[in-house]
């Protein structure tokens, strides 16, 4: 079954309502999925929950290759396939659901800027840790990434992906960074998010937006995924309002809901938020 199809988000007919059988695809959550993909997937799941749109999470080993843009997660709604949070937000908006309609222009600008901050710093730091830190690469990434495939395909795919990611790191100037510098960047990013959040429940007013979903996806995943060291999660734990924020969103949107979504909020090696 091939799900590869081009999705032109702006041209999609908004006439069809959200179906009951929408599906979100990601890699296998117990053995295969990595930190960054898990974070992205959780962000999309949180966003859809916040919009009150039902979606079923399905795990496939080749999810990355099925995706129209090569990135996970992607959703199949009716006969359309859309990947990544940005396009999914637009797609959902075209169907008449939006979390950020109540924001004024300046707030929308800030929301977009903070979302880019998370993508620019947190996501890149996760990718760096996964693919450029040799300990993590050997102990976690390589075994997990190629796990559904037989030898030597598992090794070949893992090395190919690693090469791709490292080239990208070089292009954006992260290749020369040390692990300590990357952790400092994470700390800076968390500090900025913590200051922006302050004592509010959500980043903007009393209602969550896609920014909240994105931040939750990344921070929750960082807090609950066991890596070779705890340093990354410690950086986030330094900011108590961010931890409280994650706990609140988890309780409100994932506990007591579909078992599938809440189970996918924790990786098999993870531990509950203490």
């Amino acid at each position: 079954m091939s799900l590869v199809a081009e999705a032109f988000v702006s041209q999609i007919a908004a006439a069809e309502p959200w179906p009951e059988n929408a599906v979100l695809y990601q890699q296998l959550k117990e053995e295969q999925i990595l930190l960054s993909d898990n974070a992205s997937s959780l962000a999309v799941q949180a966003f859809l929950q916040m919009c009150n749109l039902p979606v079923q999470v399905v795990c496939r080993a080749n999810a990355e290759y099925m995706s129209p843009s090569g990135k996970v997660p992607f959703i199949r709604v009716g006969n359309q396939v859309v990947s990544e949070l940005g396009p999914i937000v637009q797609f959902v908006k075209a169907k008449g659901h939006s979390l950020s309609d109540g924001l004024d222009e300046v707030q929308k600008a800030e929301m977009k800027a903070y979302m880019e901050l998370v993508n620019n710093m947190l996501l890149t730091a996760e990718l760096y840790l996964q693919w450029c830190d040799s300990t993590t690469v050997e102990e976690i990434t390589h075994p997990r990434y190629g796990s559904p495939y037989p030898w030597p395909l598992n090794r070949i795919l893992a090395y190919q992906k690693q090469w791709e990611v490292r080239r990208k790191m070089k292009a954006i100037g992260w290749a020369g960074k040390s692990l300590e510098q990357v952790f400092d960047d994470v700390d800076q990013c968390c500090q900025a998010l913590s200051q922006r959040l302050g004592t509010q429940f959500y980043f903007f007013n009393k209602q969550p937006t896609e920014l909240d979903a994105l931040v939750f996806g990344h921070l929750f995943t960082i807090l609950t995924t066991q890596l070779t060291s705890d340093e990354l999660s410690e950086k986030v734990k330094n900011y108590s309002n961010l931890v409280t924020f994650c706990r609140r969103i988890e309780q409100q949107y994932f506990e007591g809901h579909d078992k599938d979504s809440s189970a996918s909020a924790r990786s098999s090696k993870g531990y509950l938020l203490s």
Binding site: V4, E6, F8, P68, S69, G70, K71, E105, V106, K108, A109, E110, K112, A113, Y114, E116, L117, N119, N120, M121, R167, K168, K170, A171, I172, G173, G176, Q188, C189, Q191, A192, L193, Q195, R196, G198
Partner: protein, 254 residues
């Protein structure tokens, strides 16, 4: 004791003190803070040892140790700075690279022409092309992950996001003099350095440029910074003794 620093950067053109956004950002930041900086305009990149892309994150923190433009900002404004810098780097910068270096008409009739005229013989025969290839590669790595997508669609999407980014900047600036009130901060240096080349260069194919020109507050913002801080159009700083050599690629070793 603070010793004045020396900065090697690309020469000026099109009415700007430097044509390169990164160099311009460092220059502007130094002007905002009044940091003593002796500027050497070069047109031969091989004179700079180990020249790398993107010196901003390495050089500015070094200057900031003694001359801090963000001193008066609140914690929240500091966070906003980080966020808007990320927005520009993700959405605007790739399209700026595309506009100047990849778009065929612009590259041949404007960018390559300027660099070829500025560089000494025989570098002007092959260095512009080498830079072009490097920028193309950089762009492909930043944006080329979506290998299944049609190139034209990708370009349209990129430009749409960059136009939106410019509009967002305009909305955020409003009718203020600078992004955080009446005095300039590092965010202003960063934004100015990316908008000014786009505003000033005479590009044959200027889709992005036209959109920028339609945002009056951003144009006024750039023009006012240029007239306030670079009134000699990139002329030399009033007399300073060079004692410490700072090549902007070495800044990161500090």
């Amino acid at each position: 004791m603070a010793a004045p620093m020396e900065l090697f950067c690309w020469a000026g053109g099109w009415g700007l003190p430097s044509v390169d956004p990164d160099c311009l950002a460092v220059l502007t930041y130094a002007r905002f803070t009044g940091a003593p900086l002796k500027v050497h305009k070069v047109t031969n990149p091989w004179r700079r040892a180990g020249a790398q892309d993107n010196p901003w994150p390495h050089t500015v923190p070094f200057i900031r140790q003694k001359y801090n433009a963000d001193y008066d900002l609140s914690a929240r404004q500091g966070a906003d700075t980080l966020a808007f810098v990320s927005l520009l780097e993700e959405k605007l910068l790739p399209v700026l690279i595309h506009t100047f270096w990849v778009d065929a008409k612009n590259y041949v009739e404007h960018t390559r022409k300027w660099y070829a005229e500025a560089m000494p013989f025989p570098l002007n025969f092959f260095l512009p092309n080498r830079m072009h290839k490097r920028q193309l590669q950089r762009l492909q790595l930043m944006w080329g992950d979506s290998c299944l997508e049609d190139e034209e669609e990708l370009e349209k999407e990129m430009y749409r996001e960059a136009l939106e980014c410019l509009t967002l900047l305009s909305q955020r600036l409003g009718d203020q003099k600078f992004f955080f009130g009446d005095s300039p901060a590092s965010l202003d240096a960063f934004v100015f350095s990316h908008l000014a080349p786009l505003l000033k260069a005479r590009l044959p194919n200027g889709k992005l440029q036209q959109h920028l020109k339609s945002l009056q507050n951003l144009c006024d913002y750039c023009t006012s910074i240029l007239s306030l801080y670079f009134p000699w159009d990139g002329g030399e700083w009033p007399g300073l003794e060079p004692r410490l050599l700072l090549c902007w690629a070495w800044g990161r070793s500090q």
